[in-house]
Amino acid sequence: MNTLPQLDPARLSLGLAALLFAIGVAGVLFRRNAIVLFMCIELMLNAVNLAFVALSRSIDISGQVFVFFVMTVAAAEAAVGLALVIAIFRHAETVDMKHFTLLRW
């Protein structure tokens, strides 16, 4: 009776996660502001978290446990990363990543 596909919450959640992840990837690929890059990385991590949670209903609880680990790592990463961004800004008065190519040959 439903011509529309069943709006299964799990499938919706996975689709949203994929969309968020793609937005994050696109941001990392095309933006150069370090803060924006960070936000995009967080977006990807959270998209993964969403996928974990969505899938944990049909598989087992370990997905949800993993989410906590990811959040912890993300928090630590954000702390270190933002500190780096601040240091970079103090050094170069900019956070535009196109100026930071010192490590190439």
Binding site: V25, V28, L29, F30, R31, R32, L37, M97, K98, F100, T101, L102, L103, R104, W105
Partner: protein
């Protein structure tokens, strides 16, 4: 009175000059201006070495010594089955050579004190000269071919250092290089001969080689002929024979005492000594003997013709030396080893005297021109003339040496040179008799030329009117005592040196035979040469007592004495009437004289057929092979690596987004593989 003979301090004969070299060398580095240490140390160590050699001589004279005494000091090269010791060998031949080297060397060292006194490189000069004596002693005392080779190379090095002593002058430095490079060709021959000896006999020390050679090599065999010819190639280099004689006249660029010591009295005789030392090997190879004597005879005549027309006083003496070395090689080549060594010895006396005398002349001329700031050539005989009024002592000594070299009785050359000429005739027996007859005629002709060019040198230098110049004449003066006393000693030796070996045939003559002596050199060297003599006597035959054109030894000795005297008197009379112009007013010689003046254009011919092709090949190797091919490959490898790296480096932009894009692309690809 046979008793056991023990050598006295044999090692010290070599060690003392080495200490002198070290002492003078240190002085040259630390205090080059100090003259006291080199003055005492330089001649002193050589004099002491001579005293020690003399002590050994006195000891050996009373003893019967048939086998050489070999003193081994340490094991030098133990290689597989070959063991070479650093060993010296004392026997009659090596001791005679050591006496000549240290004795004449000492006199020349003393002369140098005066001659080099004002030179800035005084200490350096004496250190080189001492080093030379050291290597020369090693050469003559060495008990094996390799030890001899050490001395052989060492004297070559010292020759190079001393020819180029005034190395700031390009021409003199080049002369040193020429001597060194030409000698390398000869050294190659020596090395090949040593390798041949080792591969055939397995040993290189004299005692073993000479004992084993007659059994190991068949008479006239190919191996021993090749071996001796290679040895002789070495001798032509060191003893300045055709085709390698060209370095010796140029070697006159060095200080004159050096010319006397190295390029007349001692080093250049090394080749003659080596042939005499290897007498057993050469006796086994008749073809080599023909070659040795032939090269000697031809060189004797060839060099004498060049000497006829040279104007540089030292050049005349240089070609005279080449010519006299030719005589020595006729001697050792015909099997008359003792005669060759005898002439080596007397030649050391009178040629050292001639060179030192010319040094005294040049010294005076140089001072005269120096005092007036003239740039005339102090060595050109056209600028001399009449010097007997200014250098009376030198004049007398030089005449003694001239009579000695021309072969006038009773001077040394009469006995030694005429004996060689006679031996060439007397040994004209066996299958190669005709060769020796030709050599005999060549040697006779060269003897006439010798008398002429030496008379010419004396007349142009000391007689006639002085051509030095009005201003300069007042500055001409006799050499100081430190220079003329060695000349006097050498003059004495040039007179009596020949009496050591008066042939029996001459002793029987009424007036000429009063000299109280016997064939001493022959008897003295006999133990060392008996083996070779026996081989020659067995295979070739005993020497005759009849010259090819009839007449015995005494007849020909008298004839050559008469001829030499006649040539001297006639040329003196002729030359004294000729007017000689100073060098700057003279024209180039014309016609055949020009060919002789330019030394038969040998240097030019060598330049064309040897030097230029070598340069062309070298340039080809340099430009095409080295710079083109080898450098091309190496540079190409480097360039391709760089190019590859450049391409890779372009991927590294340093832009975070690019890397992220690459990572995402990779993940997507992997994902694609996993899923599909």
């Amino acid at each position: 009175m046979e008793h056991q003979f023990e050598p006295t301090l044999l090692w010290a004969i070599a060690l003392l000059p080495l200490l002198g070299f070290i002492g003078n060398g240190i002085t040259a580095f630390i205090a080059p201006g100090r003259k006291v240490i080199p003055t005492l140390l330089g001649p002193g160590v050589v004099g002491l070495a001579f005293v020690i050699a003399g002590l050994n001589f006195l000891g050996l004279r009373g003893a019967e010594l048939h086998e050489p005494i070999v003193q081994s000091y340490w094991q030098w090269m133990p290689v597989g089955s070959l063991s070479i010791d650093a060993a010296f060998q004392l026997d009659q031949l090596s001791l005679l050579m050591a006496l000549v080297v240290t004795g004449v060397g000492f006199l020349i060292h003393v002369f140098s004190v005066g001659y080099m006194h004002d030179d800035a490189g005084y200490a350096r000069y004496f250190s080189y000269l001492n080093l030379f004596v050291f290597f020369m002693v090693v050469l003559v005392l060495g008990a094996s071919y390799p030890v001899m080779f050490v001395g052989w190379e060492g004297v070559g090095l010292c020759s190079y250092l001393l020819i180029g002593f005034w190395f700031r002058d390009r021409e003199k430095a080049d002369a040193g290089k020429k001597a060194f490079i030409v000698n390398r060709i000869g050294d190659f021959g020596f090395l090949v001969a040593m390798l041949l000896l080792f591969s055939n006999l397995g040993a290189l020390d004299f005692a073993t080689v000479f004992a084993a050679a007659p059994a190991a090599f068949p008479y006239g065999g190919a191996v021993v002929t090749a071996l001796t010819l290679f040895l002789f190639l070495g001798a032509t280099g060191k003893s300045a024979q055709i085709p390698l004689y060209i370095w010796l006249p140029d070697a006159m660029a060095g200080p004159t005492p050096v010319s006397a010591l190295i390029h007349a009295a001692t080093m250049v005789t090394a080749g003659v000594y080596m042939v005499a030392r290897s007498s057993v090997l050469f006796a086994l190879a008749p073809v080599s003997m023909i070659v040795v004597a032939g090269v000697g005879a031809f060189t004797a005549l060839f060099a004498a013709t060049i000497g006829l027309i040279q104007y540089d006083i030292k050049k005349v003496l240089a070609y005279s030396t080449v010519s006299q070395l030719g005589y020595m090689l006729i001697g050792v080549g015909t099997g008359a080893y003792a005669a060759g060594i005898f002439h080596l010895m007397t030649h050391a006396f009178f040629k050292a005297l001639l060179f030192l005398g010319s040094g005294a002349v040049i010294h005076a001329m140089h001072h005269a021109y120096h005092a007036t700031h003239s740039h005339e050539d102090a060595q050109d005989m056209r600028n001399m003339g009449g010097l007997r009024h200014y250098l009376p002592k030198t004049w007398i000594f030089m005449w003694i040496a001239t009579l000695a070299i021309a072969g006038v009785w009773p001077f040394a050359g009469f006995f030694s040179k005429d004996e060689i000429i006679w031996q060439a005739a007397a040994r004209a027996v066996g299958p190669f008799a005709n060769w020796f007859r030709v050599y005999w005629l060549l040697a006779l002709a060269a003897a006439m030329l010798t008398a002429f060019y030496m008379t010419r040198l004396m007349i142009m230098t000391f007689h006639g009117t002085n051509r030095t110049g009005e201003q300069e004449r007042r500055h001409l003066h006799e050499a100081p005592a430190v220079m003329w006393v060695p000349l006097a000693v050498l003059a004495g030796l040039s007179v009596v040196g020949g009496w050591l070996n008066v042939p029996q045939a001459i002793k029987e003559l009424p007036v000429l035979g009063w000299i109280p002596s016997t064939e001493w050199v022959h008897e003295w060297l006999h133990p060392q040469l008996v083996a070779a003599d026996e081989i020659i006597a067995t295979h070739v035959g005993e020497a005759t007592h009849q010259a090819p054109l009839g007449g015995g030894e005494a007849f020909w000795a008298l004839l050559s004495f008469a001829l030499a005297t006649a040539v001297i008197l006639a040329s003196a009379a002729w030359l004294r009437r000729r007017r000689v112009l100073p060098a700057r007013d003279s024209a180039e010689p014309r016609g055949f004289a020009s060919v002789l003046y330019h030394k038969w254009y040998v240097d030019e011919i060598y330049d064309l057929i040897v030097v230029r092709p070598v340069l062309a090949v070298s340039r080809f190797c340099w430009r095409i092979i080295d710079q083109g091919l080898i450098d091309g490959v190496v540079n190409g490898a480097g360039f391709s690596a760089r190019a590859f790296g450049w391409v890779g480096a372009q991927l590294q932009t340093g832009q975070l987004n690019t890397y992220a894009f690459a990572a995402v692309l990779g993940v997507l690809l992997l994902l694609g593989f996993v899923i599909f």
